[in-house]
């Protein structure tokens, strides 16, 4: 299972990460910020990490 580290403090709820995640791993909380919904589905493509403008997501620790 991929280790997904989220830094919610820097997240601005833009929605790019869960918008681009091809496997539905990420979702938003009620403020729109990123949360990990389905970690088992992560294929470590790092699309979320590369496209997060706010440096909030690290895949693989």
């Amino acid at each position: 299972m991929a280790k997904i580290v989220i830094n919610q403090k820097w997240c601005k709820a833009c929605g790019i990460c869960y918008g681009l995640c091809p496997k539905g791993v990420l979702d938003k909380d009620d403020t729109g910020k990123v949360v990990v919904k389905n970690p088992d589905a992560c294929i470590m493509c790092r699309i979320c990490e590369e496209h997060c403008p706010d440096y909030c997501i690290k895949i693989g620790g």
């Binding site: 601005k12 833009c14 918008g19 440096y55 690290k58």
Partner: protein
Amino acid sequence: MLKDIEKLLRQDKMPHIWCPGCGNGIVMKAMLEAINSTGIDTKKTVVVSGIGCSSRATGYMNFDTLHTTHGRALAFATGVKLAKPELNVFVVTGDGDGSAIGGNHLIHAARRNIDINVVMFNNNIYGMTGGQYSPLTPHGKFATTAPYGNFDRAFNICDLVKGAGATFIGRGTVFHTKVLTEMIKGAIENKGFSFVEAVSICPISYGRRNKMGTAPQMMEWLKENSVPVKAASKLPPEKVAGKILVGELYKEEAPEFTQKYDELIARFQKGAE
């Protein structure tokens, strides 16, 4: 990867000031990735910026950084590079900062082929002042100062710097992050004036006014409207018209300015012996 570049980020200054969904953070990350992967000496690296949203990047990058006056980053950077050619010099600029008020410095730095790597964050708008049209706002698009649509025609900024004499030109987008990183690496490796256009997104001041949707939707738009430059040559013209060409656009060998100057100095020193 983020964990590899964290050391190049001034983490105590984060989170950065950019709006939700702004592409600038992505471009800055591509720069840090490229710098990290080429292994250049980060103590001998200087990043210079002008004024505007993109130019705030210098505050977050852990090098010697210089946040100058509007449009003048390349002039300051020219002084840094010529005075100390052993430094790796980058310029971070925006479409307004770099192609309007700083346009003269851009063409002349390219003409000299001075070894500076320019990354132009192109979000098609003046974001910091709230959404006025820039020389890279496409014709017909809306801005606070183009309430009836933009009459101006936009520059093809990569063609402009090519005409001016740049020796490496590439384009990436905040969707095509790998291409973008590769282009910045190409810029670093080129010993001469290098220019990378980083097509970014500004959901707040450009996207909203032009009904382009949310940040993920603008990302989707970039994906749909970009064509790799290598593929473009094999496609019928109608498939390429109006598209953003991404990848390496131009490369040539030419004498570099500071090297020529150092050769002149060496000539005098030899004469003195």
